[in-house]
Symmetry: C2
Subunit: 195 residues, 2 copies
DNA sequence: ATCATTTTTGACATAGGTGTCAAAGTTAGT
DNA sequence: ACTAACTTTGACACCTATGTCAAAAATGAT
């Protein structure tokens, strides 16, 4: 390649995710992204055509990392512990920063899903991915006699629950409340101790 | 009063709720509201100072009606049936229109809660109200030996679940999926049949 | 070292939304 | 019927964001 790109694309996408997380999709402008990444607005328009495409790229970047992470969190022999661990880190991620942040994907769903078919598709794929990962782990748990519910419907239910927790974060921004919610949910689910 | 307001304020607020539901808070402009209500933009600025205040008024109008409605849905002797009924109508409301709509409050939470303290307060109050209504019904169920969980934490959990279902609506817009989710959740909850 | 190709940069025109205001219109109360 | 008080209306100035473009700068390949 000849006129090589100056900016670190990975870094820009990471920052973009952060900005989108904090401000939401609509409230984030190309100027915001330019300022926070240190890349000129024109360069962003050159590299990506517009905000939608930039978002699309940033989101793909994010989901790949996130789904891998989720999957790794579920690698634990005890199924209930595995899901507890997963939800615990999800909550911790949501509340990690001093400054209020929020869930990237949930904010995007509520704002951008209808506006742009491409974004809608990648959001759907993301939730589908989450669901599959959870379903697989639940099927394993059923085989291990650690769970007696239906894997498919329980996975869908858990996906919805995580979205709900992300909404609760916006209102109360209270880790204890979010923890209480997922603990209640997991307590009610038909996990079994194997003796 | 002398120069009386021409437009029907109740009607305007109802329409405003509808527009905010469909477009979301940020994407809704005063022009949109003027067009859809048939009231001139200037009149809206005269009656309410700005979009935030208008939203605030519309939201108060909405929550009063909604919470009363929720409470009435829970008036059933069988606790599990009562909550099933509630979630069923919530889902039906979310999917009722031919054109995609979405949950007014959840959209507002994800978009506007951080932007405006007033709105944040009324959103918090709304969720608190929901929680109290559900908690009261669960306490009744416990007295009736129809529920063996903790009323407070279960109510918070259910509030989160309804928010999650509203997010799922945005992505899949699929009534069957939403129904499956709340049925799974209620199935897992420790409701008891009284014989 | 030069060239071809891409990126960077700043400027520009455009579009859309906000909030304000003065003038015109309306109406309850006297 | 008149008036005082309010609403309606359309115009206005302002701001912010978008997307485009031409010129300048940068650099891998020859």
């Amino acid at each position: 390649m000849v006129g090589t790109r100056k900016f670190n694309e990975e870094k820009v996408l990471d920052i973009a995710i952060d900005v989108f997380s904090r401000k939401g999709f609509n409230a984030t402008t190309m100027l915001d992204l330019a300022k926070e990444t240190g890349v000129q607005r024109g360069s962003l328009y050159n590299a990506y055509q517009n905000k939608n495409v930039l978002f699309f790229k940033a989101f793909s970047h994010y989901t790949d990392k996130f789904l891998t992470f989720i999957e790794s969190e579920l690698q634990q022999s005890d199924a209930k512990k595995a899901f507890t661990q997963l939800l615990k880190t999800v909550v911790e991620r949501l509340c990690s920063d001093k400054e209020v942040k929020g869930c990237f994907s949930t904010r995007a769903i509520m704002e951008a899903a209808q506006q742009c078919p491409d974004i809608h598709v990648c959001l759907t794929r993301f939730l589908d991915g989450l669901e599959v990962i959870m379903k697989n782990r639940l099927e394993q748990a059923i085989k291990d006699k650690q769970f007696v519910g239906d894997a498919q419907s329980s996975a869908r239910y858990l996906v919805a629950l995580t979205r709900g927790i992300a909404v609760i974060e916006r209102v109360y921004n209270d880790k204890a409340r979010m923890t209480e919610i997922y603990q209640t949910a997991l307590e009610y689910m038909p996990f079994k101790k194997v003796s």
